[in-house]
Amino acid sequence: MQKEEKKLLDYEVEWRQMQIELNLLSRQNHVEAVAGNGLKLIMPQREKIIYIEP
């Protein structure tokens, strides 16, 4: 039982660390940097945006 409880605690710890990691990776500035530098994405120019009316 002690083992199982320890497992439970470990999962909780892991979950929290995953949350933090998820957050660090999904931070807007990180996403922006990856999109801009890694994937070479750019914001489309105003003239190139097409709005579709519902």
Binding site: M1, Q2, L9, E12, V13, R16, Q17, Q19, I20, N23, L24, R27, Q28, N29, R46, E47, K48, I49, I50, Y51, I52, E53, P54
Partner: protein, 616 residues
């Protein structure tokens, strides 16, 4: 027949044994009684005492950890989260002491290697050296695991060096590394389980969320305000342990561990990031001292974003300057300047002191009592729309002087000037506004263009909700909520709508804040360029550049206030410094919140055909 009756008893001796038999009987009896007595004494009379003693050897109270509550944004993204960390410290005395068991083990090994030969003194020394080497090796492994500089720990073994008895090796390390260090089984190693508060959003939301101290007690911001909600209560349970200290069974929960409650904020981290990024850029470009930005939900007063620059990193408080962790958007006041002019127009219209068709004659200067109110240019004759579009001090002064002081004061008071917002933030500013009984004519005039009173950025944004939600002023909240139960009507719906329409002209090409435009959306807003006051009066060349705006103007969803403190790169008008920030943040925010464009003229390309035609 043989007669046995007269036979001489053959065993006379038996008689001699009867005493023995009795003795034995009594002896056994005595033993039995004493056993029973002892047993009953132990079972009945000494029971409690013995129970206690037994328990003390087996039972133990173990602390059950509980987590401090998380702080999440409105979409459940964590802004503050507690994770367990380990602190490692070495007991130097215990570290230096030689463990006899370990030495014996080494001896045995050597004996086996030598095939049972007796060990000489030289060998004993060899063993001691080997033992020391093993210790050193483990210390070096620890150094590697913790990424510490070499020799930092291994030098502790040096007997010559006088050392502290306890050395803290590492604070707040990953528990996984802690486990590995535990596995080294180095004597004197102690591992203590702690919690660390981590702020994934870092400096972006630092002023709102605040931070905790080493004991996870809230120090500033919401961590401090909602300490009671967030606080965790560690539990305590009684367990049975075996001889080695392993827990065999739980007996009872003495105290149930209670995790802190999660706090759900009204903040939208996506807007928060956007606001912070643009504000930071603007402060840098304009070489300003500081900047603040507040975004409110126009319909229920929730604070969607509040950004401040400069800020600090709550994860690393080393460079923290005292006082820099306050939230200036809530705690600092400034004179709102021309941003209050729409309220004067609205108050005039609502009270019937100004008619929509009224014209105002201005000549660039306007004497009030012993003072003179000035405009930047001579605007000549202005209608109501142009009063706001050109931001004429003279015209609004004329309006203010038409209104009874009490009425004028009451409108401002209802809008929340000089009234705290009561969001529960420590050090929240009240703002200041003189009572109308002490007003002179010139004060009334200056109040109409935003001097002689001050407010925080949050208070100004709150006042703008009255224009945004068709005359209804909202209370503000930093916690997520469905509706505002404290809303109150200040202006009539008709007035609010018409003033908003006038404020749209400010964003036009010939208005004061063309830079605040947002493509595809109608925007209503007002600039403010306020001279900074110091003890000796107003200072030349030092300004607050303010912009307050509402979007979309037709059906408002967001209210935003941008304030840049002391821009010193040349430009200082609210329309030049703060309006571009508004434009960038607002266009991003409207997109993020999926609010449909309402102004087709400026929407780049609009497809009204159905989707099928694009697909083909």
């Amino acid at each position: 027949m043989l007669d046995f009756r007269f036979r001489k008893p053959t065993r006379q001796i038996t008689k001699d044994f009867s005493f023995r038999r009795k003795f034995l009987l009594f002896f056994m009896m005595f033993c039995m009684i004493s056993l029973v007595g002892r047993a009953s004494y132990l079972q009945i009379f000494a029971k409690d005492y013995l129970n206690e003693k037994g328990d003390a050897r087996q039972l133990d109270d173990v602390v059950v950890p509980a987590y401090r509550g998380m702080i999440n944004d409105r979409n459940g993204i964590p802004l503050a989260i507690s994770t367990p960390v380990d602190t490692i410290w070495l007991d130097v005395k215990a570290l230096r002491k030689n463990n006899p068991d370990e030495l014996k083990k080494l001896k045995k090994e050597l004996k086996i290697a030598r095939k049972g030969e007796k060990l000489s003194e030289e060998d004993e020394l060899l063993i001691l050296n080997e033992y020391q080497k093993q210790k050193l090796d483990k210390l070096q492994q620890m150094e590697n695991l913790l990424e510490l500089p070499k020799e930092k720990l291994s030098s502790l073994l040096d007997e010559q060096k006088p050392n502290k008895s306890v050395v803290y090796v590492a604070h707040q390390i990953d528990p996984a590394i802690g486990e590995k260090i535990k596995a080294l089984k180095l004597p004197g190693t102690n591992i203590q389980r702690d919690f660390k508060r981590f702020y994934p959003a870092g400096e972006i939301s630092a002023h709102v969320v605040g931070f905790t101290d080493f004991n996870e007690k809230g120090q500033t911001g919401l961590e401090h305000v909602y300490e009671k909600t967030l606080k965790a209560k560690t539990g305590l349970k009684r367990v049975i342990k075996d001889g080695l200290g392993n827990i065999i069974a739980d007996i009872e929960n003495i105290q149930e561990p209670v995790n802190g409650k999660t706090l759900e904020l009204s903040i939208d981290q996506r807007l928060q990031y956007l606001a912070y990024r643009e504000l930071q850029k603007a402060v840098e470009i304009n070489k300003a001292k500081a900047g603040m930005l507040v975004i409110l939900d126009a319909k229920n007063g929730e604070i969607l974003a509040v950004a401040n620059e400069p800020t600090f990193n709550p994860n690393n408080k080393k460079n923290l300057v005292d006082g820099s962790y306050r939230n200036p958007a809530f705690t600092e006041v400034f004179e709102p300047g021309s941003t209050v002019k729409p309220f004067v127009v609205a108050a005039g219209l609502d009270g019937g002191y100004v008619k929509p068709t009224d014209l105002f004659y201005t000549h660039g200067v306007f004497p009030v009592g012993n003072h003179v109110v000035k405009d930047v240019h001579n605007y000549g004759t202005l209608d109501l729309t142009h009063v706001l579009k050109k931001s004429s001090n003279i015209a609004v002064s004329q309006m203010a002087l038409k209104m009874p002081p009490k009425y004028f004061w009451n409108t401002y008071h209802q809008l929340g000037f000089g009234v705290p917002t009561n969001i529960g933030f420590t050090g929240e500013a009240n703002g200041r506004m003189l009572d109308y009984s002490r007003w002179h004519d010139f004060e009334r005039a200056t109040l109409s263009f935003g001097y002689s009173l001050n407010s925080s950025a949050l208070q100004l944004a709150r006042a703008y909700t009255a224009l945004a939600d068709n005359g209804i002023l909202h209370s503000v909240s930093i916690l997520k909520r469905d509706e505002d139960i404290d809303a109150q009507r200040v202006f009539s719906s008709k007035t609010a709508k018409s003033v908003r329409a006038m404020m749209e002209s400010v964003i036009m090409k010939d208005g004061t804040a063309y830079d605040a435009r947002v493509d595809g959306y109608s925007v209503a807003g007002k600039t403010g360029t306020v001279k900074k006051a110091s003890s000796g009066g107003y200072v030349e060349n030092k300004y607050f550049s303010v912009f307050a705006g509402i979007a979309p103007a037709k059906n408002p969803k967001l209210v935003m206030v941008v304030m840049i403190d002391e821009p010193s790169a040349g430009q200082y008008y609210g329309g030049q410094v703060s309006a571009p920030v508004f434009s960038k943040v607002m266009s991003g925010a409207l997109r993020i919140l999926e609010i449909a464009p309402d102004k087709k003229e400026t929407t780049p390309i609009l497809l009204t055909q159905n989707l099928n035609s694009i697909a083909h």
